[in-house]
Symmetry: C2
Subunit: 457 residues, 2 copies
């Protein structure tokens, strides 16, 4: 009973879909954040739920950790095999299985990415709204309870996963949820698995809620004199109940990064990027309300557009902001933060954070999904520079503590992974032990993504 | 170690808030559905979370079941002490603790009813939207994942509970969720407790999402020639993405009952009752869209009103429909059903159900929250008439099986209780065992509402 014997046993059934070469392992040992590389012992490429169940049974028998892998875009080291074992690469389970246009839902395999899904949906008049920026896999997005720019209107993966097929640690296959829009039939296992980061089960199929493409859409860009006025305008907009499709904040440094990366010439002050969805009349009405709010808070020109091309350009710029920001300091790594606070505390939280970063020795542009109270600082450090890493960790820690003090959370959308585990006790108190009790009940051998989210020893 | 010794121990601390008199026990042994009376051994009235924790520790020590009690409006026997033990009456924990108008949330104790909460919120411009008809307690509504007429727009208790304080079986007190609008911080314990029917923990506080009172609201009533056209109009409305605040179906028999109970004179054919919320322009736009759809499907006069009084009268009639329907057969009991199917199957499901009931020997008016695909038949039987009970059960069983066949659920909003447990295996397969594994992990002594939702022996 060992990881080695598990890999041998898997190889007998799956042949060359069990790979142990250095390069494929290195690819699955890297991450987009600042965590050290951790190579899995093997990378396995299943093609069906039955194969995943077989893999789970084999790994359970041999005590071999299983770490699911989507596209590797996690920012908290979720997909790193920190206890060894196999990386379970879902890229060969990436099909769109079924679209029910009448019910506005679909069934997909976990390796399908959100962009691939939306490409396939284009002709149906429907789309899948959750948009974390990166072209992540839908299984990974569900596992981390991802969200992003559109959550303010359409919700996160929590609201948009209707049901799952899941392989448990012992190889049992369960179905959660149903295609009905609501149900009171027992414990909500769908919501338990969403956000469990591969520690309770391996997602092998998802039923997702879809949205109708809006009749009309428009975007707006607006510069503000300072952070406080921009964020206060967001608070007022949300409190007015305007059904914003997107409302994104970028601080001056972020705007500078986007200008450079995307060849734009926005004034280098804090900005809001906005999008409106609805009927023609509804979009016009929303935009008028926001235009008034923005002007009241000292916002500048309301750069309004209904042109698809301009909208695409805007959101392309926003989606690439993480890469644009990293390019501010070539060769750097980013310590990302991901706090989310009640809307009433947002201006205070962002302003205090910005002041603290300004006084530090490292750059840390701030941007965020402010309609939800969620924002990030990307703390840019030189690889291998211990002092900078310590400074970034100090700043990230201060942000996390501030969020908790304000009744918020240390992670709005990136998840716990290995980076936020140290805050779980502070955030959840005894609830964190309850999570561990659930983990022990469902995965007594601790083979599913061990070392993440909970502490079971 | 016994129920008796637990009650004696509780009496020493709580004095006359532990009651064993016949009448108070009878009150807590009754139910609004057709289930037989089951008297608890005692009724206990806690006043604080600390007292609930003490009660849990005492009951755990003595092996005494705890069955939380809100207002007793459950339709599936949730609050019946089927294994004996205490009924935990939360009516003395009914305070509104805090309103955060800026964040549009509030904190309440579980015994507070939805009407009492909305009464207290009136001056704030906010309201709590979930509306199951009955003036249920918010703790009970969370425990059963209740919804009702407004879920189509505002979601169910699943979407509207942001966080909980919960006393576990061993007396530990946990807090779930945060006041942030979203979080990826670990397993979603809030959503696990919502809908767990008191079997995993006792809710002692709720943080609820509130909504701004809409700028404009209007209602409409529309008669249809037959069930099929009414339901097809609903399907089309939902597929058009009209953000209905309410869209309710009543069949001809239901309308007859409401006419008699509420002194109205609606034509006795299937009806839709609708409500629109939004800006003035938005409401007008929605109503125009629906008016066109309704007319396309053969609906009659679109009885439109923006007058608050008329709207109140309409929803008063709808809220009392259960009692109106029961009055069709004085002295009867109702076997209620609560299926929910994907919208695409709704017309088929309602039509088949109506045909089957029409061929049976008992009346069974149909009404429902059709925008969600959820509908009920109230099967009216003579108390003690075994043949009628068997017939009602046969019809209810056929509805449940049909819902499952169509990819739906046997309970859209009433919960499992004792009435729907027999379907859990069919609906969830191995997932039902997983629920039991979670129950065993969190309540190893099976003292929390034993006999409900899961089977742990």
């Amino acid at each position: 009973m060992s990881i080695e014997t598990a890999i041998v046993a898997l190889g007998k059934t799956l042949g060359d879909r069990v790979q142990t070469g250095e390069s494929v392992r290195a690819l699955h040992g890297a991450n987009e954040s600042y965590y050290d590389e951790v190579l899995p012992d093997a990378v396995v490429f299943p093609r069906s739920t039955e194969e995943v169940a077989l893999i789970a049974r084999t790994c359970a028998e041999h005590g071999c950790p299983i770490v699911p892998w989507g596209t590797g875009t996690s920012l908290e080291g979720h997909a790193l095999a920190v206890k060894g074992g196999i990386s379970l690469d879902m890229s060969e389970m990436a099909a769109l299985l079924e679209v029910n246009a009448e019910d506005m839902d679909c069934r997909v395999q976990p390796g399908c990415t959100r962009e691939a899904l939306n490409e396939e949906l284009r002709a149906t008049g429907l789309f899948f709204p959750v948009d974390p920026g990166a072209n992540a896999s839908l299984g990974g997005m569900a596992a981390t309870r991802a969200s992003g720019t559109t959550a303010v209107r359409y919700g996160t993966m929590r609201e948009n996963v209707l049901g799952l097929q899941v392989v448990l640690a012992d190889g049992r296959v369960i179905h959660t949820g149903s295609r009905a829009r609501k149900s009171s039939a027992g414990y909500d296992l769908t919501k338990l698995i969403v956000g469990s980061e591969g520690t309770l089960g391996i997602i092998t199929e998802l039923t997702l809620r879809l949205q109708g493409q809006p009749e009309a859409a428009a975007s707006a860009v607006c510069a503000f004199p300072d952070i406080d006025s921009a964020v206060a305008a967001v608070q007022a907009t949300m409190q007015m109940g305007v059904p914003m499709a997107r409302i994104e904040f970028l601080d001056a440094e972020c705007v500078r990064a986007v200008n450079a990366w995307d060849r734009r010439d926005m004034p280098e002050t804090p900005h809001l990027f906005m999008e409106f969805h609805g009927s023609e009349a509804g979009v016009a009405e929303q935009a008028e309300t926001v235009r008034e709010i923005v002007s009241e808070f000292g916002g500048g020109d309301f750069g309004w557009s209904t042109a698809q091309e301009e909208r695409n350009r805007l959101w392309h710029a926003r989606h690439n902001a993480y890469y644009a920001v990293k390019a501010l300091r070539p060769g750097c790594r980013a310590v990302t933060t991901d706090v989310c606070v009640p809307i009433s505390r947002l201006a205070e939280a962002v302003t205090e954070t910005a002041a603290e970063i300004a006084q530090s020795a490292i750059p840390g542009p701030i941007l965020g999904h402010v309609g939800d109270g969620n924002f990030h600082a990307a703390l840019l450090i030189e690889p291998g520079h211990e002092g900078e890493l310590a400074e970034a960790k100090r700043l990230a820690h201060a942000m996390a503590e501030r969020a908790l003090r304000m009744g918020g959370t240390v992670t709005g959308e990136h998840g716990v992974g290995i980076g936020k585990k140290r805050y779980m006790e502070a955030e959840h108190g005894a609830g964190w032990q309850v999570m561990a009790e659930i983990k022990r009940a469902l995965d007594p051998g601790n083979i599913l993504n061990p070392g993440k989210v909970v502490e079971v020893n």
